[in-house]
């Protein structure tokens, strides 16, 4: 499945100032029984979003009409724990295109990138500024510019640059995915296997 192109995005955002948000919270295990990739948006943060019995919890940000947008801003060490890609599917399916945090877990980062969801890692200082700005004005917008690798708080006109590997950047800008690339290299992979004497 080729991924959607990502070039530049300006959006309001949803603040989730909680640290160590693990993938068990993003998509609880009991929803992993599906055999397709679709429909995980409904399950996003399920146990934080709904009380037992299914009533929405008013104190959870996704149930607060004040906040919306396709950028999630979260506390440090976002996406830790299980490797379940269902977490990235749920965020994307819900409508997020970018997650901003001061720190991401490794596997989550690659899962997100493989689905066209851009993880933007910023400094502790910058994320504190974002949370402050949203607290003052829930309609604060951020602009994420992949080409230039910058993220800006538009009303404050401050920005910071973020890192992404050159390869992943070009995949996102062009909507390519890794499988197309790998399959195109199958002859080289075969030659490598033949040369590897220990390859059992």
């Amino acid at each position: 499945m080729p991924i959607e192109k990502f070039v530049k995005l300006t959006s309001t955002c949803v603040p989730l100032p909680v640290e160590n948000v693990d993938t068990d919270q993003i998509t609880p295990a009991r929803f992993l029984k599906a055999t397709t990739r679709q429909g995980f948006g409904n399950k996003l943060f399920f146990d934080w979003r709904y009380a037992p019995g299914g009533k929405p919890r008013e104190d959870f940000v996704l149930n607060n009409p004040e906040f919306s947008g396709s950028i999630l801003v979260a506390g440090k060490n976002f996406g830790s724990g299980s490797s379940r890609e269902h977490a990235a599917w749920a965020l994307y399916d819900y409508g997020f295109k970018v997650v901003v945090s001061s720190f991401f877990a490794d596997i989550f980062k690659s899962n997100a990138l493989n689905n066209g969801l851009l993880p933007v890692q910023v400094s502790e200082d910058f994320i504190a500024r974002i949370f402050e700005a949203i607290e003052k004005d829930s309609k604060t917008t951020l602009t994420v510019d992949l080409e230039n690798q910058t993220i800006s708080i538009d009303s404050l006109q401050i920005s910071e640059s973020f890192e992404i590997s050159a390869y992943k950047k070009s995949c996102l800008l062009n909507g390519y995915d890794d499988i197309d690339y790998l399959v195109s290299k199958s002859a080289e992979i075969e030659r490598w296997e033949e040369a590897d004497t220990l390859n059992a």
């Binding site: 909680v18 919270q25 506390g75 690659s110 290299k185």
Partner: protein, 476 residues
């Protein structure tokens, strides 16, 4: 080592050997020697492959098992839960269609993916191993680069036997000194994570070294590497040595004869060169460690069993909100003592502590004692072979006499995808690896500990230091 070559860490040696092709200075096409799959994270990878009209490139390099979803009782019957049944059946079908070896439900080799790989001798030093499961790091105990991947990456490996990766930084964690009586390798790893936090090794691949690590059995080493993901590491490994070779030799899929000699010679070149430089090195002393228990909702929130939960002044101001949220979920208060807290459930099992040595330790401890009345206990072997061995050694009888029952293998309450769920608000002492909110069932409150601590809790019904019993009897 050739004298004009730069000294290398074991991580570099294995990594560099598996680079098929550099894409740019940081990114390369990386070859995978062994791929494990299970029912939960593979179905979308197979359908992705089908949609592209692709075939599994190297079917004999992938091995499958059903573990996450399966019941741990009455496994001979049809799986009750419809969605679980569909997932397991989908795995069966995908394996059959693609010629992939499957150790499915009721197969004598069935079990948790990270238990069966090592016990069958599939996991061997120097290999690169991946699985759509974060605890793939377990296999690092054999001196492998082993790590968890997402479903898109499962599809990549099925399609090409390769991944596109950038090289992680390298960290060495040295643990020297002697581990005290009544302690297990689980206490070492919970101690390390409590010191460096649940994200302390993110971005790194870790080598565990030092005399306390060398002294451990292979099974105890697997417990350490298993939880390297809980400190954020991409993976963790231990250099192979005689303990490793002795464990592998003679196993079902281990190399034999001439092949063994050739492989052994290669394995012996793997340990880090003496002057190899790591991006980061940490040092711990095993004699500082006491039995560990977690009090919060990530594995970094752990402490020595006689310690008290931190108070707010001991926590950094920016973490106050998350700390309070976590304690509220757990029903603990800052400054609480852990010892003596009442417990409802004990879970012994998982790819962290569901091996035969864990069951032996638990059974040895509870032998001749009785399960506390307030405790419901689930003792779940990590595989069919572990189950068979436990029965052969009569552990099931020891358990039964003390009021415990040995269940059938699977992931079980580790992630509660099957019926084994801790009810809302109940406290569980668990030998598994994650104490996240709801991990063992919605609202479940998990405290992670070693099999010996779990045994002490199962007998007293409260958080108990296992050493109390040992001092009395000095049996273990």
């Amino acid at each position: 080592m050739n004298s004009n070559q730069k000294p290398k860490t074991i991580i570099d040696k294995i990594w560099d050997k598996h680079v098929v092709k550099a894409i740019d200075p940081e990114t390369s096409v990386f070859y995978i020697d062994r791929h494990f799959i299970h029912e939960v994270t593979s179905p979308q990878a197979f359908s992705g492959l089908n949609n592209r009209g692709l075939k599994v490139a190297r079917p004999h390099k992938t091995v499958a098992t059903a573990d996450h979803n399966i019941p741990t009782q009455n496994q001979h019957l049809t799986i009750h839960d419809e969605l679980s049944r569909l997932q397991v059946n989908t795995l069966n079908k995908n394996c059959a269609e693609n010629g992939i070896e499957l150790y499915g439900l009721n197969h004598p080799y069935n079990g948790i993916v990270h238990v069966i790989g090592p016990e069958l001798g599939i996991t061997q030093p120097g290999m690169t191993i991946v699985c759509g499961d974060s605890h793939t790091s377990t296999h690092g105990a054999f001196g492998t680069i082993a790590f968890g991947i997402g479903t898109s990456e499962v599809e990549m490996v099925l399609a090409s036997q390769c991944l596109i990766l950038s090289k992680p930084k390298r960290m060495r964690i040295n643990v020297d000194g002697k581990l005290g009586k009544g302690l297990k390798s689980k206490d070492i790893i919970l101690y390390i994570i409590s010191k460096i936090s649940a994200s302390g090794a993110t971005g790194y691949f870790v080598e565990f070294a030092g005399s306390a690590i060398r002294d451990l059995s292979m099974e105890a080493r697997m417990t350490i590497c298993n939880m390297s993901i809980e400190m954020g590491a991409r993976g963790g490994l231990i250099a192979p040595d005689q303990t490793t070779y002795d464990y592998i030799k003679g196993r079902e899929m281990a190399p034999k004869g001439e092949e063994w000699d050739k492989d052994l010679a290669y394995w012996k070149t793997l340990p880090s060169d003496p002057d190899a430089v790591f991006d980061k090195e940490l040092y711990f002393d095993a004699s500082d460690i006491e039995p560990m228990i977690t009090y919060g909702t990530n594995p970094g929130m752990g402490l020595g069993i006689s310690e008290k939960i931190p108070t707010l002044d001991e926590i950094e101001p920016q973490s106050h909100a998350s700390f309070k949220k976590s304690l509220e979920y757990m029903g603990h208060s800052p400054g609480d003592e852990m010892l003596g807290k009442k417990v409802d459930y004990v879970f012994v099992g998982s790819c962290t502590n569901g091996r035969i040595e864990d069951l032996r330790a638990f059974a040895g401890f509870i032998k001749g004692k009785k399960k506390a009345e307030n405790i419901t206990a689930w003792i779940v072997p990590g595989s069919k072979q572990v189950e068979a061995q436990a029965k052969k050694e009569g552990l099931d009888k020891i358990l039964a006499e003390a009021g415990f029952e040995l269940r059938q293998p699977g992931c079980s309450a580790c992630l509660a995808m099957n019926e084994d769920k801790i009810p809302e608000g109940k406290y569980a002492v668990s030998t598994s690896n994650r104490n996240f909110e709801g991990r063992q069932g919605p609202g479940a409150r998990t405290m992670l500990a070693s099999p010996l601590t779990a045994a002490a809790v199962a007998i007293t019904g409260r958080i108990t230091d296992p050493r109390e019993f040992l001092l009395e009897t000095e049996k273990i």
